[in-house]
Subunit: 346 residues, 2 copies
Amino acid sequence: MKKITLKDIADHFGVSISTVSKAINDSHEISRDVKLKIRQYAKAHHYRPNRIALSLLKKSTNTIGVIVPNILNYFFTQVFYGIEKTANSRGYTVISCVSDESFIKEQQTMKLLSAGTVDGIIMSLAEQTQAKGDLQHILDVMENQIPMVMFDRVTDKVECDKIVVDDFEAGYKTTKYLLQTGCKKIAIVSSIFNSSVGKLRVEGYREALQEMGLDYDDKMVVKVGGADDLEILISLLLDSIAVDAIIALDEMTAVDTLNILKMKGIDVPDQISIVGFTNGRLSKYVSPALTMVSQHGKYIGELAANILMDRLAYEGDMPFTTKLVKTSLIERDSTRKVDKNHRAYQ
Amino acid sequence: MKKITLKDIADHFGVSISTVSKAINDSHEISRDVKLKIRQYAKAHHYRPNRIALSLLKKSTNTIGVIVPNILNYFFTQVFYGIEKTANSRGYTVISCVSDESFIKEQQTMKLLSAGTVDGIIMSLAEQTQAKGDLQHILDVMENQIPMVMFDRVTDKVECDKIVVDDFEAGYKTTKYLLQTGCKKIAIVSSIFNSSVGKLRVEGYREALQEMGLDYDDKMVVKVGGADDLEILISLLLDSIAVDAIIALDEMTAVDTLNILKMKGIDVPDQISIVGFTNGRLSKYVSPALTMVSQHGKYIGELAANILMDRLAYEGDMPFTTKLVKTSLIERDSTRKVDKNHRAYQ
DNA sequence: ATGAAAGCGCTAACAA
DNA sequence: TTGTTAGCGCTTTCAT
């Protein structure tokens, strides 16, 4: 059985296409019996109005496009999950694309999506794009009047709705927490030093140190690139400075760091505390279970989808908003307990 | 700037729409200079042909729909990643949907996708659908001439291309391996006893036992539902039988089981070996690192996408195929080393 | 070399 | 109550 259209039904009953259309849309203009037999026939033959034709006519696709940098990253998976669920519940379909942290792929994808395929876009910038700073492809989309929500990795150069994790506060809060547990020499291991997110966390860290009258030392911020050997970098760090805490800016690095320290016979958290970013699936299963910063990925996804769909539904203009989502520190066993006396001074 | 169409360009130059269309598509019918100025103008104004209009005309959307039961499950994330990458490289867009293991949601999603939105579908059945056994919605899609590839959780009731993990062999191989390491009392902990996948693994397990002349005991197969407390179920198991190996049918359960055994002061692997299914991100980070069965998710995704797109590109009919993808056992530290003498007998 | 017209599947204003 | 027509944006014959 081929796909059935209004025309097929019209021909079958010898009526006009518009009669069939009206009958199926339960118009009052159509007589009881005609309506009945047409609807019955349509149901029997699994008639479904062609969404493409509808989209062309209505100039709206009921579809939103999502571009995430890396779907294998649990944070983005969670965001995507939140988006999909929310969009779905409001009758939208989701086209999902992965930029794979590549500028070119992001650019191509934006072009594709802005060619009438989606009503709006939710995205987080690829690392390469952030490093490069070329955002023309995104500005083009905005000029095309396609509403967009950016989350997590955003940029000031584009005016649109944004949802950002309060990464500055997260860096600040985490550092403060470690200081409260009595740590003094806090290092950072970052695999995302090119992204806004990574930079903000480091700034928050810096602020917390400064507030306590501690010096910021560039050597304490270890940058790990794809090809680098984390073990060597950490060894170098530990050899030159008596570190007593490490903040890892992503989950994998946190776990890797933990394992490296364990291999070196260093006790966690007695000798060195570890806090990791992005509370995913790994952290609670390693031992000691890692204290982590949760970014509430699913919530961010829901929020992004709702903001976008609200804008799509709203006639007239809405000002752009930027929502700041706070992180939560999930205390587990890779950090010492907070020193009560010390805390009293805060 | 609003979205620009062929008509806008035609009006601007006082030519016909078809001239513009031809110019943009670099037709030889159009004169050098007209072509040049039109193309230039189009580029300057970011003209992009409307994909929806194209789809309607060509009766093909260059889009494939993917339905996975649970995107938070790393296996499915991997498959999705493979699909997205492959589809993209061949010029296809991916609409991704999550059934959330729900029959209703799967049904709705199928309807949506089959309304002309996609050229083909890749899917894995929701657990509820497998339990219920009602596949009408899927048969409808096939009747609508929409090519489909099912992977992992498939069904005999639908004729289409399929990719299945050789779960029988995986269960068999895993059991055999444990026997070779000297284990005799092997239990299974399953959270997916309703799915074809779960059943096949248990059958493979059974076969391996039988081959060695060992009895299959129903009590050795522990079924964990969502509300059940794994710890209690494992305690009950261990109290009644002197188990020396446990096969966990998903990664989370494997890790949970490991932690429960450790808490009970049971040594892994000396007292009890553990093998888990689906090699994800957790397994290698826990200690002892878990021996796991890898299902090659990304590869399955690539394969599914290629099979589907090959079929879409092919004129004339192709017979349906079912590919059986073998699993790999990744030996780590939660199992004993294979007993060489024992192996000699195999 | 350029344009007119038909048509993909559908809805909606307007006629009958 | 039913039908005719136009049009969403595009390509593709078939004139001109």
